[in-house]
Symmetry: D3
Subunit: 256 residues, 6 copies
Amino acid sequence: MSATFRLAERLAENRPLVSAWCGMPTPETAGLLAAEAFDAVTLDMQHGAIDFREVLQAIPLVAAHGKPTVVRVPVGAFATASRVLDAGAAGIIAPMINSVADARALVAYTKFPPVGERSWGPAGALALNGLQPPQYFQRANDAVMVLAMVETRAALDIVDEILAVDGLDGIFIGPADLSITLSGGAGVNPAAPEVDEALDHALARTRAAGKRIGVYAHIPERAALFKSKGFDFVAASSDANFMRAGARALLGGLAG
Amino acid sequence: MSATFRLAERLAENRPLVSAWCGMPTPETAGLLAAEAFDAVTLDMQHGAIDFREVLQAIPLVAAHGKPTVVRVPVGAFATASRVLDAGAAGIIAPMINSVADARALVAYTKFPPVGERSWGPAGALALNGLQPPQYFQRANDAVMVLAMVETRAALDIVDEILAVDGLDGIFIGPADLSITLSGGAGVNPAAPEVDEALDHALARTRAAGKRIGVYAHIPERAALFKSKGFDFVAASSDANFMRAGARALLGGLAG
Amino acid sequence: MSATFRLAERLAENRPLVSAWCGMPTPETAGLLAAEAFDAVTLDMQHGAIDFREVLQAIPLVAAHGKPTVVRVPVGAFATASRVLDAGAAGIIAPMINSVADARALVAYTKFPPVGERSWGPAGALALNGLQPPQYFQRANDAVMVLAMVETRAALDIVDEILAVDGLDGIFIGPADLSITLSGGAGVNPAAPEVDEALDHALARTRAAGKRIGVYAHIPERAALFKSKGFDFVAASSDANFMRAGARALLGGLAG
Amino acid sequence: MSATFRLAERLAENRPLVSAWCGMPTPETAGLLAAEAFDAVTLDMQHGAIDFREVLQAIPLVAAHGKPTVVRVPVGAFATASRVLDAGAAGIIAPMINSVADARALVAYTKFPPVGERSWGPAGALALNGLQPPQYFQRANDAVMVLAMVETRAALDIVDEILAVDGLDGIFIGPADLSITLSGGAGVNPAAPEVDEALDHALARTRAAGKRIGVYAHIPERAALFKSKGFDFVAASSDANFMRAGARALLGGLAG
Amino acid sequence: MSATFRLAERLAENRPLVSAWCGMPTPETAGLLAAEAFDAVTLDMQHGAIDFREVLQAIPLVAAHGKPTVVRVPVGAFATASRVLDAGAAGIIAPMINSVADARALVAYTKFPPVGERSWGPAGALALNGLQPPQYFQRANDAVMVLAMVETRAALDIVDEILAVDGLDGIFIGPADLSITLSGGAGVNPAAPEVDEALDHALARTRAAGKRIGVYAHIPERAALFKSKGFDFVAASSDANFMRAGARALLGGLAG
Amino acid sequence: MSATFRLAERLAENRPLVSAWCGMPTPETAGLLAAEAFDAVTLDMQHGAIDFREVLQAIPLVAAHGKPTVVRVPVGAFATASRVLDAGAAGIIAPMINSVADARALVAYTKFPPVGERSWGPAGALALNGLQPPQYFQRANDAVMVLAMVETRAALDIVDEILAVDGLDGIFIGPADLSITLSGGAGVNPAAPEVDEALDHALARTRAAGKRIGVYAHIPERAALFKSKGFDFVAASSDANFMRAGARALLGGLAG
Ligand SMILES: [Mg+2]
Ligand SMILES: [Mg+2]
Ligand SMILES: [Mg+2]
Ligand SMILES: [Mg+2]
Ligand SMILES: [Mg+2]
Ligand SMILES: [Mg+2]
C-alpha cells in the first residue's frame, strides 16, 4: 500500500528487485524511471550529483508510481541517512563500511531504539504514507532496508562479522571499488575475475547469515548475471547511461 | 570558433544538422546530450519543463562541446526569444506563427536594426563567445537562426509570404499540431499522409525561397526520413524518450 | 481515476468544490494542503510568489492525494496557461478578461482544435495521468476547466457575451478588484454591498448560460457565504493566511 | 520609513538618486550592493540573467538597508511589472515604449484605478512595508515610480506625447539602443554625439512636462556626466562590471 | 539592535522566549512567522526539510523583523553549525549530545578561541549586523547561544557534567526521543509522565548550574505548560502544523 | 588540455598560481572571475555561502576558460571533498588539519588506492575532461592537489609531520585563524607580526619537504607580499570584495 514499505514487502516474499540508478540532479528523472518496469529507484548522493533537496523532491515522484526510493548516502554521512529516511526513503545504501564499528554506527542512525538510536521526526514519511506516529514507529525498523557496502578487502575479510551486526539488513557490493582494492590499486575493472569470486563469496555468506545482498551493475550484461545469481537487489546502469544509450540508438540509425 | 555561430556556419556550408531535443528541467541533460554526436541541442520552453534559468545554465554546458543551443520559446514569447539570444542561444524556434504579422514581430525581437528592433544587451553572448560589442553587433543578425513554426493550415496557406519576411531565416514544421489542424481537430498523428504532403510542399517552397527549413521528428524513423529528404535542421525525439529507451533496453534484457 | 480529470468529474456531478489557495513559492505547501479536506488546490501565479517551476513541482504532489490543481495565471499569460496544462493542471483561472476578444484568446490557448488552437505537447499531463496521446486529446477539451475572471465593470457589463464564448467553461469572480472598479477607484473592499450584488447577478447569469462560476473568498465567512449561495468553485483564504491563523491560535493561548 | 516608498520620497524632495544595476542571477548580489552608498538597486530582467524568483528574493535584502528596488522588466512584460510591484518593488523601468499606446498599457498594469487597471493583490508589498490594504491602496499610485524607456527614434519623436500620458511618472533613456536607432542600425555607441543631443533634448522636454527622467550609464564617466546634468535617476555600470573592476584592480597590482 | 544578538540580550534579561519552529524548505515561511508575535524563529535541519541554502536565505528575512534565528543542525553536524553561525544565526541546537565529549565538540565548533576552536569567517553575520570583525569577535562567544540536546537516558544520567562544559550555554530537551529512550524503545509519547519527570529534573539541574534550558512543544498545550514552568526557550509546533490548523479551522466552518 | 589537470601542470612547472576566491552562492560569479587573469578559481564551502549544487555548476563554467577549480570544504567534510573531486575539482583545501590523523583522513578521501581510499565514481570529472576511466584513475592521484590548512598553533607545532604525510601535496595557511590561535584568542589580525613569522616558517618547512604551500590573502597588499615570497598558490580577496571595490570606485567618482 505504502511505497516506502514496498521494498521490505518484496524482500519478505523473496522476490528480488531491479532498481534504476540515478545520479542526475533532477527529481523528474527519478519519476520518469519509476514509470518504467523497475521495482525501485536508487538515488546516488555519493558519486552522483544529487543532494538533499533533490532526494526530498524525488521521493514523492517515485512513490506516485507505488515504488520505493533507496538512497546511497556519501561516505560516513549517517546523519544524512536519518534525514532521507525522515523524508520517506525506503532503504539506505552506505558506502565504505569497513569495520564492525562502521556497521554499528550505520544501524544507530537508521533504526529506532532499542535496535539503534535513530532520532524521532519522520514528518515526510508520515505525510507520504498516511501513517500515524505509533504505526510508523512500530513498523519502521522492519520496513527500512539498511545495506552496508562491502567494497574493500578489509570489509570482505570481516563480511561475516558485518553481516552479524544486529539491525543491519544486509550488504551491498560495489564492484568498482572492490576491483581497485583487490588489485592493490593497480586499476579499476568491476568485471575482473577476482571481483566475481568475491561476489560469489559474499552472496554465499549472506545466505548463510539469512540476510540480504545487493549489487551495482555498471552494464546490462552484469545486471543479467547478478539477477541470475540470485542477488536480492540489483541496481543497474544509470540515468545518464540510459539517456546516452537512447541517444546513440537514434544517432546510429541516422549515420551513414 | 564560437559555439553560438556554429549553427549559421554549418548552414552556410549546406551541411544539415541533427539536434537533440530537451524538455527536462535540468541543464546537465543538455550538456550530456551535447557530448553525443548531435550537431546542436534544442531546448523546448513551449511544451518542455524548461524555464529561463535552465536555458541560461544549459547554454554554456552545450557550448563546452563546441555546439550551438537552439531555443523553442512559448507561443508569442518574443521577448523571451530576445533574452535567450542575449544569453548566447544560436537560434530561435517560434511556435504558431500563423500570419505575416506574427513573423514580422518575431524578426523584430530577434534581429537588430535595421532589420528588426532587437534591443541591445547581449552580456551572456559576449561572455560566452569572447566578442567585443561591435563584433557581435555586426555578426549577430547573420549568425542567429530564426525559424517560424508553420504548424496550422492558416500558416501553410501563406507559407510563401512567411518565407518572404525579411530577416526570417526560415521555417520549422511541427507535425503534431499540423496533423491536428489538417484533420480539423479530429486527432493527432504526426505521421499522417497529409502531414507528409504538407512537409514536402513546405520543403519545396523553402527551397524556392532560398531559406532554411527545420522539422521535429518524434521517433527515430521520422528523423531518418526527414534527413533523407534534405531538411536543414532535424530535431529528434527527446531527452525523456532517450532515457526511457535506454531503460527499456536494459529491462528488456533482464525480463523472462 | 486521474487527478487532472477529477475537477471536471466533480462539476459534472454538480458537486461544488472548495479549493485551497496557494501563493507561497514552495510546492510542498500545495502538497500539504492537498492532504487536508480541500477538493482542489489553486496556485496563484498572478499575485502569488509562484512561478512556472513551482507549478510543475506542485502538480504531482497534489495529484498524489488524488486531487486536481488549478492555476491562476498572470494577466494575459495565455501561453503560460498552455504550459501548465501541459504539466497536468486541471483548470485555468485567467484574470482581467474584460472583452469577448480576451475570452476567445483564453480559449484559443487552452482548448485543442476545433474549439481552440492549443498546441500539442502535454508530456507532463500524459506522464501524470498514464494516458496515451489519443486518449488525452479526446478528453482534454472537456476535462480542462477554463474560467475567465470577471472583475471589472466592463466585464460585468458583457458577462452574458463572455459566458457565451464557445469553449469557455465559465467565469470566476475576483471581489477585490471588482470592489475597486465598482467604487471608481475609491478603495478596496471585497465584501462591499455592490460586490455582493454583482456576485448574485453573475451567479444568476451563469446559471442561465448553463456554465460554471467560481469565486475567491478572502476570509472564512465569505467562503461559507459563497458555498451556501451555490458557487461551483470556492477558493478560500491562502496558505499564508492559514499559517498565520495557526500561529496566532498558538500565540493567543500562550499570552497573558 | 518603508523602503518601497523611499524612492518617491527622494524624488519629491528633488534629490536625484544613483542606483546600482544588477544582472546576475543571485539575490545576494543586490543585497551586497544595497549596503554600499547607492540610493537604490535596479534589477534587470530584460538583458540581465534575473528572473521572477530572484526579484522576489532580492527585494527584502535591499529593503533591509532601507533602500528601494527598481525592476526593469522585459519588453512588453507589463504583467510581470504588476507581479514585481506586488512583491514590493518601488519602481518599474519598461523598455521599448515606442508609442502612446505602449505607455498607456504600461500605466494600466502599474497604477490602480482610476488611473490605471492594476489588479489588487500586493501581499509581498504589504508584508514588506507593514501596511494595511487601505493604506497601501491610497499611497501606491504616488509611491510607485513608473518610467517608460525612450530608446528609439520613434519614441523620441513623440517624447512629449509619452510624457503627457497620465499616470506615467517619467521616462528612462537607454543610450545603447538609442545609438543603434539613431545610426540607422550602423552600430552601437552609447556615447555618440547624437545620443548626447537626444539626452539633452529629452531632459529638457521632461523638465517642461514636470516629470522625471532616468538614464543608464555604462561607464563611471557617463554616470558623472548624467549626474551633473541633473538626471533624476542615474543607474550605473553593473554588478558584473563592479566585480570585474575589483578583480582587475587586484590583478593589476600583482602583475609584473 | 542587531537581530543576531537579540537572543542573548533577552536571556540576559531573564525574559523567556517563544520560538516558531520551521521545517518547510522555503525561507519565506520563516519570514512570515517572524512577523507574528514569536520572539525567535528556529529552523530545523535535523528532521525538517531545510538545508543550508534555505537557512542562508531565511536568516535575513527573520532579521528584517528584528528577530533572531536559531538553527537545529543534524546529528553531529558541528561544521554545519559553524557555517550557519557565519551566516548570522543567533543560536544552535545540537541533537543527540550524549556525552561530555559530544558537548565539548559542539563548543569547539561554535565558540571562538580560547573557549572553543570556531574558525574565523563570519561574512554573513558581519553583513547582517553591520559589525566590524573585531567587534564581532569580541561579542560572538557571549552572543551565540549554544544548546546541547538532552534526549536520551545516557544524556540525562550525565546532565550535570554536560551542563558543566565550559562554553556551552545550556541544554534543550527533545521530549519525543526522550520518551523513546525512557520506554526502552517501546513507543513514542512526548507527553508521557516519565518525560515530564525528566523535564522537571533537567530544569532543576540547569537552574543549579546557572545555565539555560530550552524545550520543544509538539502541541500548544505543552508550550503553555513549559512556559509556565519557566523554560527559557520554548519552541512550539511547526510551520506545517500552523498551516494545517489554519486550514482545518476554515474547513471546519464550511462543513455540514 | 584538461582544465582539471591544469593546476598540477602549473605546479610541476614551478609556476605559482593566483586564484580568485568565491563565496557567493552563484556559479556565474565563478565563471565571470575565470574570464579574468586569474590562474584558478577557489570556491569556499567553509565560510562562504556556497553549497554542493553551486560547486557542481561552477566547475564547468570555470573550465570553459581552461582553468581549474579548487574547493575549500567545511571542517572535517572529507566526504564532500570526494564528491567535488568526482565533479571535476582540481584541488581541495581542507581547513583545521590539526593532527597527522586529520591529514591522513584527508588523503584517504581524496586519493585512490594504494595511496588513499578514495571511492571510485568520477562521472563529472570524466565528462568534463573527456577521459576514459583507466586514464583518469592513473592520473588522478597526481593531478589532484590536496592541501591541508595549517591554521592553529597545534598544527604549526607538527607542520613537519603533516608535510610528511604520504599523498598530501602540501599545506595552505589561514592567516586569520592563525592570528586568533597565536594571540591566545585575544583577537583576529591576519597581518600580525607573529602570523608573518609563522608564514615564513611554514614556507621554509614546505620547501624542505619538497611540497607545495598556498595561502589566503584578505587584501591585495598581502597577495602581493605572498606572491613575492614565492608561495605556490595565492588565493586573494573575494568575489564580494571585488564587487564592493568596483562599486566604491564608481561611487567615489560620483561623490561631492
Ligand atoms: Mg564504491
Ligand atoms: Mg507545435
Ligand atoms: Mg483580481
Ligand atoms: Mg535598451
Ligand atoms: Mg530529538
Ligand atoms: Mg581558517
